[in-house]
């Protein structure tokens, strides 16, 4: 009898890109729900705009590049990028912010660099950084967390704000505010002490009303990813400890002008960055030692940018800067091969 031949191993693969991406999406669900709970339905507009734009842009680029569309869409990577961007954007951002951002992420940061697996920079963070630099006003106005809102904002009002940009709504000022990180930075710049600043209502909890719970939700989702072995612990632990120890040292020496490490970890994008953004395998270091170093560098840079930089949040810039060092990190952190000194 005759048989077809093929090359070993013959055991079916145990994993797929699609499965990895699906788990990332699942792990983001607690974060999404908490965002809606704390900041209203605005985040849903972002998610819908980002995801639908991402799928269209991905299909368009694949067609232009003459690649198979179906398997690349089905790997869910574009949707993960879109969702991460949607969660990083302000909930009241005008509709074209998520739209343009997603186009930048998928077309420029992903496909112009060769598509999945070839992009040196994290697409969601490229988009975030470009938006931040280009439209700083729209990118820094966040809604107040629901616990601090005097009256609820209806879905239709929210839609009006997002799609028609009617900033002359009578209560616009009463529902928007700077983020705790932003506020902290501004007030420190005005020579206030951390104690004075933290007496404001937005800080009336361990790391900023609303924000802290979103961070906790990302932390939970991240732990799920580690438990399911979708990501390894090296990058998140490296990043969070880099940020923690940098802020701890400052906090121990000058507590009056240095926010606490807990504030640093839970008030901004540190958790989303540590578990979901810095862990993007394509743009991260691949060796285990390298991943710890990569994480620590992002953590330290985030602290540096938050403290001395021009922007209140440093995760996006830190990730992009450290993305550049990845080839060098990988080069110098290779493991010792069996039988070699």
């Amino acid at each position: 009898m005759q048989f077809l031949t093929s090359s070993s191993p013959f055991i079916a693969p145990t994993n797929s890109v699609q499965r990895l991406m699906l788990w990332v999406l699942i792990a983001l669900v607690p974060g999404c729900i908490t965002m809606i709970w704390q900041f209203g339905y605005g985040v849903l507009f972002n998610i819908i705009i980002c995801v639908s734009t991402a799928i269209c842009a991905e299909a368009l680029m694949l067609k232009l590049r003459k690649r198979a569309i179906q398997p690349a869409i089905a790997d869910l990577s574009a949707i993960v990028t879109a969702l991460l961007l949607a969660l990083a954007l302000p909930t009241l951002a005008p509709w074209w912010i998520p739209f343009v951002g997603t186009l930048i992420a998928i077309i420029i940061a992903k496909h112009l660099y060769g598509g999945l697996g070839y992009n040196p920079f994290n697409p969601a963070m490229v988009a975030f950084a470009i938006l931040m630099v280009s439209f700083p006003k729209s990118m820094t106005v966040w809604m107040l967390p629901s616990s601090l809102l005097a009256n609820d904002v209806s879905l239709s009002d929210m839609a009006t704000l997002v799609f028609q940009q009617q900033t002359d709504l009578p209560y616009i000022d009463s529902i928007t505010a700077a983020t705790p990180l932003d506020d902290m930075k501004t007030r420190l710049g005005l020579s206030q002490t951390t104690d004075e600043i933290r007496s404001a209502s937005i800080f009336s909890s361990f790391a900023g009303q609303g924000w802290q719970w979103v961070s906790v939700a990302y932390l939970l989702g991240g732990c799920l990813l580690i438990a399911k072995k979708i990501i390894s612990w090296h990058i998140p632990v490296g990043l969070l400890s880099g940020l923690f120890f940098a802020s701890l040292i400052a906090y121990l020496f000058e507590p009056s002008i240095s926010p606490s490490p807990i504030f640093h970890l839970f008030s901004g994008g540190a958790m989303l960055g540590a578990f979901f953004i810095a862990t993007d395998p394509v743009t991260a270091a691949t060796t285990l030692k390298g991943r710890i170093l990569y994480g620590v560098l992002i953590g330290l840079l985030t602290y540096v940018i938050r403290t001395w930089g021009g922007y209140p949040e440093g995760i996006a810039f830190a990730v992009l800067l450290v993305n550049m060092t990845v080839p060098m990190i990988d080069q110098y952190t290779q493991p010792r091969v069996y039988g070699h000194k």
Binding site: M1, Q2, F3, P13, G117, T286, L288, Y338, G339
Partner: protein
């Protein structure tokens, strides 16, 4: 006993041992034809000793070792040599190679064996010679001539530890396990011979911790034998713990230096099937003509563990197993991780064949759609050699073979772990095999061009030297001539002077 760990591996690989591990070894009937590829071991192919039409008996040498790294081949049953020439051989390439075919006569007459009453009277050199003559090669799958591993002549480092590899880590295969369950005493006897031969202090027989019955069977045999230097150890069931280098690391914590062999760190490691064959060769005086093979998979009606004459065509074994089921999709020689698919069941079993896996489409992956690498690093985390498969892939794909070589491509053992965990379904091992052979070809090419360059340079030098010599010679000649001319001139001048003087004298 303290155990060590090697990097990665696949602890959760489905073992599929239950299909065959309970089946006692049965003797397969002698087939009508026995086919012997001349190259069924690492090294030089054996050279034919017989002619078409010759009658042979079981145990008769039909092809002899050619050089040191080679092994002789013996007839597996009595019959007539019916063909010598190219035939399909069990090899991943799917190519044909020279083979000897015996048409058996059904009498199964054998050459009178020459049993040895007391192996302890024999010297190490004599024992090594016996093992070499018996055609014994590594039966775990590598088929490296065993005598070379055991030969201590000219070696400076004494062997301290003998490792017996019973860790059958490939899925589906259970032939070593059955051997240890049923014939542990013979294996222990084989170990005794090796301890005497190598004069070493310690023998460790390793089995995986997934077969407690086997462990007990060996313990009983060791107790009955009562030699305190032989011990049995359970090692964790992590693929590829039965890889030679991985097992050495697990048991001793030592690593075999890249490019060296275990003997360089005082270790000899042998498969238990090989030890059994050594026992047969030394005690019973029988050369290697049969081995134990697992025939399994959803593609055969009744899986078996069979004691088979080497050279038996696969279809004869399938017949013993009541034929193919309708699910038979792939014919794999060896296990599903490191074995290779063969195209026809006319192909014979060789000394290294430990398993025939007739796989259904559920048991093997027939088609994989490769996606781009996302650099997740899973491959590196499972690599038992601590390589970075993802970077090797990157370099080998872009034909940067030298860079891949710097990342220790040649240390890859092709175990297939990276392939199985890759979420992008990239056939990594296939890329590495390709890159390895390209690298070998490159090195060969480089050697050739080095030789050519040296020859050219030598020629240039020689020409230059000859030219210099010639120049020197002609310079000397010229100088000599000049000297002679000068001398002549001088003489002439002197003569003239004398003559002149004479004339002046005359005048005065």
């Amino acid at each position: 006993m303290k155990l060590w760990h090697f990097n990665g591996g696949l602890p959760a690989l489905a073992e599929h041992k239950n299909e065959s591990v309970h089946l006692a070894i049965e003797k397969a009937p002698v087939p009508e034809q026995l086919i012997y590829p001349l190259q069924q071991h690492i090294g030089a192919p054996a050279s034919v000793l017989v002619n078409v039409g010759d009658k042979v008996l079981r145990g008769q040498k039909i092809a002899d070792a050619q050089g040191l790294v080679s092994a002789p081949i013996h007839a597996g049953s009595s019959g007539t040599i019916s063909h010598i020439g190219e035939q399909l051989i069990p090899h991943p390439s799917g190519l044909s190679a020279p083979c000897i075919t015996i048409t058996t006569d059904g009498l199964d007459e054998q050459l009178k064996p020459t049993p040895c009453a007391d192996y302890k009277q024999l010297s190490a050199v004599e024992l090594v010679q016996m093992i070499r003559n018996a055609g014994i090669v590594g039966l775990g799958g590598a088929a490296f001539p065993t005598a070379i591993k055991l030969d201590q002549q000219g070696k400076t480092k004494p062997i301290q530890t003998l490792i017996l590899n019973g860790a059958e880590c490939e899925p589906y295969i259970s032939c070593d396990d059955r051997l240890l369950k049923e014939r542990a005493d013979k294996v222990i006897l084989g170990i005794e011979i090796l301890l005497h031969l190598l004069a070493c202090e310690q023998a460790i027989l390793a089995v995986e911790d997934n077969s407690p019955d086997t462990f007990r069977a060996i313990q009983t045999a060791i107790k009955a034998n009562a030699n305190p230097v032989i011990s049995v150890v359970k090692v964790p069931t992590i693929y590829p713990t039965g890889g030679e280098k991985q097992l050495i690391k697990t048991l001793t914590g030592k690593e075999v230096t890249s490019g060296k062999i275990p003997a360089d760190i005082g270790i000899v490691s042998l498969n238990v099937g090989t030890v059994y064959a050594i026992q047969q060769a030394v005690i019973e005086g029988k050369p290697l003509t049969s081995r134990i093979v697992t025939v399994t998979g959803e593609g055969v009606k009744k899986p078996h563990n069979l004691e088979v004459r080497v050279g038996t065509p696969i279809h004869a074994l399938i017949d013993v197993c009541h034929g193919y089921t309708k699910h038979a999709k792939r014919l794999i020689m060896g296990g599903p991780m490191m074995g290779y698919a063969v195209s026809s069941d006319e192909i014979p079993l060789v000394k290294a064949s430990n398993c025939i896996l007739v796989a259904s489409k559920d048991e093997v992956v027939t088609e994989k759609q490769a996606m781009p690498c996302i650099r997740c690093g899973e491959c590196a985390s499972v690599c038992p050699v601590s390589l970075l498969p993802q970077q090797l892939y990157w370099n080998s794909r872009s034909d940067q073979i030298e860079k891949a070589a710097k990342l220790n491509l040649m240390d890859c053992i092709e175990c297939g772990c990276c392939d199985v965990v890759c979420p992008s379904h990239i056939p990594l091992v296939q890329h590495f095999r390709h890159a390895k052979s390209a690298l070998k070809a490159d090195q060969h090419q480089k050697q050739l061009s080095d030789i050519a360059r040296e020859r050219f340079e030598a020629r240039e030098q020689r020409i230059a030297r000859e030219k210099a010599e010639r120049a020197e010679k002609s310079r000397k000649k010229k100088a000599a001539l000049k000297e002679r001319a000068a001398k002549k001139e001088k003489e002439a001048a002197e003569k003239l002077f004398k003559e002149e003087q004479a004339t002046t004298n005359d005048e005065s």
